[in-house]
């Protein structure tokens, strides 16, 4: 029997399509989470009072930022979930190796980020419409053109993708040792508490500023892509040595 040599690209493509079908439920949780965030956003995110002479101005703000934040959390959790045993075992039921499995996972996460990013940015309009119908308020928005929308969508996608890369790494580490379930939150909150003892800006704040305060589009793009690559490469390197179905 002559054996056809298996082609990595081909297998990754098949695995990706398979994962898209197999993980379709994660998208229904995306919708649920975004609607939940929308519900929270309807309460507004703050208001301001100002007066000048006989004119007093009250401004109430709405924002869909929370939807993006929730979408990030969703991406994080989704990435962790697909590194868990049942999901890795599913790959090994069919044709795979560890590399192709991870590559397919990454493409799946990219797809999830794209869908999550686009929908998150569109929820803004839904927010406007609902606020328009439900609240009897004078509602104004920024006239944003296609350029802003495209920029916002691509940046959201990149942020969500980067978070999912982080989730993938965390999930991978947890697969190596369950101790990481403890370690990651301890690291997370530890750095916040550390601030009180050491007179310095907490680590997390600087990380936050490193990404979210970067005004240059190009630099941020570079930062996000490099970070995501780093996370994914580390994960692949770790997963490549891991046994399945023990």
């Amino acid at each position: 029997m002559s054996l056809v040599i298996a082609n990595l690209v081909d297998i990754v493509k098949k695995q990706y399509l398979f994962k898209l079908k197999a993980n379709i439920d994660s998208f229904s949780s995306l919708i649920w989470i975004q609607l939940l965030a929308l519900l929270f956003s309807l309460g507004g995110v703050g208001s301001t009072l100002a007066s000048s002479g006989y004119l007093s101005i009250e401004v109430k703000y709405y924002s869909a930022d929370l939807v993006i934040a929730f979408t990030m959390i969703w991406a994080f959790v989704t990435a962790i979930i697909i590194t868990t045993k049942p999901y890795r075992n599913q790959d090994f039921t069919y044709v795979t190796n560890r590399l192709s499995s991870s590559l397919a996972n990454i493409i799946f996460l990219l797809t999830a980020s794209i869908i999550g990013g686009i929908t998150a940015m569109l929820v803004n309009n839904l927010l406007k419409i609902i606020a328009y119908f439900i609240f009897n308020e004078q509602l104004y928005s920024f006239q944003s053109g296609f350029r802003e929308l495209a920029l916002g969508i691509s940046m959201t996608i990149l942020y969500v993708f980067c978070i999912s890369a982080f989730g993938y790494l965390v999930g991978t580490l947890v697969q190596v040792s369950k101790l990481f379930i403890l370690f990651v939150p301890v690291l997370f909150f530890g750095t916040i508490l550390l601030k009180t003892s050491v007179q310095k800006e907490p680590f997390l704040t600087s990380i936050f500023k490193f990404y979210f305060f970067e005004p240059s589009l190009l630099l941020l793009l570079l930062k996000i892509l490099l970070t995501s690559c780093l996370f994914f490469f580390t994960s692949i390197a770790i997963l490549n040595r891991m046994e399945v179905r023990r």
Partner: protein
């Protein structure tokens, strides 16, 4: 438009069911259907959002601080030069004419706390006609241009050779602003700095007959055009 709400509720209910009873009820078809409905609703609202602008939902032009001060400068310059015909109509808040004024003198006074700048133009004729114009200063909230809502309609009373400028009724402007997402603001320079409201005070402009003597009230300062 109101049909969106029931659709949304149905979508919400399905989403809720799909989370709770995923193992039992949701088939692949429903998940797909749910996703398509959701994306459909989002696209629909994107298409609809610009059109529900019947006074309640507006997308507004943004203006930069520089643009605002430039516009204010131009307004000021035009007033100073007496070229009010050049001023954009949108800045004109109100206008009042007093015909057949017989007095030789006119005292101008105000009980308005914020004294507006008053520009006076002497006409070439003695037609006994006094014209008062009020021009609005700019109002912007977070770079959104709300100048059209800023105009404080002053009122003018002419009694016993005294023109009194009365303040407007106290007004409250309530606006709700849907902010852009932080992923947009990060690059457009509209980084969160809290609210940023700019209110410029209004300007008054008067045309008086050639030989009318103008007496400044205690609170008023008058700038004569072309002097």
């Amino acid at each position: 438009m109101s049909s969106i709400i029931p659709i949304l509720l149905v979508a919400l209910a399905i989403a809720f069911l799909s989370i709770n009873k995923r193992k039992k009820f949701v088939t692949v078809k429903i998940t797909h259907w749910l996703l398509f409905t959701y994306v459909g609703v989002l696209l629909l609202s994107m298409a609809a959002a610009p059109f529900v602008a019947d006074g309640k939902l507006h997308a507004r032009e943004t203006v930069s601080e520089k643009e605002i001060s430039q516009a204010d400068n131009q307004l000021h310059k035009a007033l100073r030069a007496g070229r009010i015909e050049d001023i954009d109509e949108k800045y004109l808040v109100n206008q009042k004419n007093f015909d057949n004024y017989q007095g030789k003198t006119l005292e101008i006074d105000t009980i308005y706390g914020n004294v507006p700048e008053l520009h006076v133009e002497r006409k070439q004729v003695d037609d006994g006609k006094i014209e008062v114009f009020c021009f609005a200063g700019a109002l912007t909230i977070d770079t959104l241009d709300f100048t059209d809502m800023a105009g404080e309609p002053l009122s003018y009373v002419l009694e016993n050779n005294i023109l009194t400028i009365k303040p407007p009724k106290e007004r409250e402007v309530k606006v709700s602003i849907v902010k852009n997402e932080f992923t947009i603001n990060q690059f457009t320079g509209a980084r969160e700095k809290g609210s940023h409201i700019i209110v410029n005070s209004p300007y008054l402009y008067m045309r008086i007959p050639k030989n009318l003597e103008l007496i400044e009230g205690t609170e008023m300062s008058v700038i004569f055009v072309g002097e």
